[in-house]
Subunit: 119 residues, 2 copies
DNA sequence: ATTTCATATCGCCATATGGCGATATAGCAA
DNA sequence: TTGCTATATCGCCATATGGCGATATGAAAT
């Protein structure tokens, strides 16, 4: 049998499960957090580097990182005085890649229909 | 070459792109919206059916559906007096499946380490 | 036209969240 | 010790969001 596409009939999810899922997606629902994750996808970085690269305040970056850590998406390794952050769950890359692909498809579709509408 | 796993080096995303992505994930970041999507995964349903099945108020369901429609995740087909809703983008199923699988793995991992901790 | 049903929208309130400046903490240096 | 650096946390404010009751809209039935 095929391994692609959920063949399962979409079970009813419990309230608790919905809460968990929502919390995970919520972690991905803020541009600044996505920026931090995007930076970490390029390479591990210290909090300070993220502060500088993100252009956000230190307090905010710290709060966002705490939330991402709480969600299991980011890990931290102490290294001397600094804390090095990294993507702790590959699902982050997968979800973002998937979303980006989808958006690109949509934009291309829109562009095509716009172009043909000019004909 | 393999088609699995993003081989791309995680490009830097623009602010606009981050906003778009965040908006999509935000649509999935509320338990009630996830419930509606979960219901629609079982079958198309009218707004009224969703109101009843979700246990939420009609106004709220309507607002949530508007947001999901705006995000391109839900579609609506008028049928006489009623509006029939359906999942408009298969990415919804994929993202939710992926997240559910991941959470299940984590829970099982936690359970195992708890169990071994009792030894 | 009037009524009725299904849905959308509005106004309000309570809570949650992000950004900011200030402060606290913790590890290393002198 | 004292001080310096990197990060976390706190308090505050402004905004965003979800739920609720009431109302508006719009299509079908009478």
């Amino acid at each position: 049998m095929s391994k692609k596409k959920s063949a399962a009939p979409a079970k009813q999810l419990s309230d608790a499960a919905l809460e968990l899922i929502a919390t995970r997606f919520r972690a991905l629902s803020e541009p600044m957090r996505l920026r931090l994750l995007n930076l970490l996808m390029q390479s591990e970085q210290t909090v300070g580097q993220l502060v500088e690269a993100s252009g956000s305040g230190q307090a905010n970056v710290s709060k966002h990182l705490a939330l991402l850590r709480e969600a299991g998406m980011v890990g931290v390794r102490k290294e001397g005085l600094t804390s090095v952050c990294f993507i702790a769950d590959p699902i982050v890359n997968e979800l973002c890649d998937m979303m980006c692909c989808r958006l690109r498809e949509e934009m291309e579709g829109k562009a095509r229909s716009l172009a043909s509408g000019l004909g």
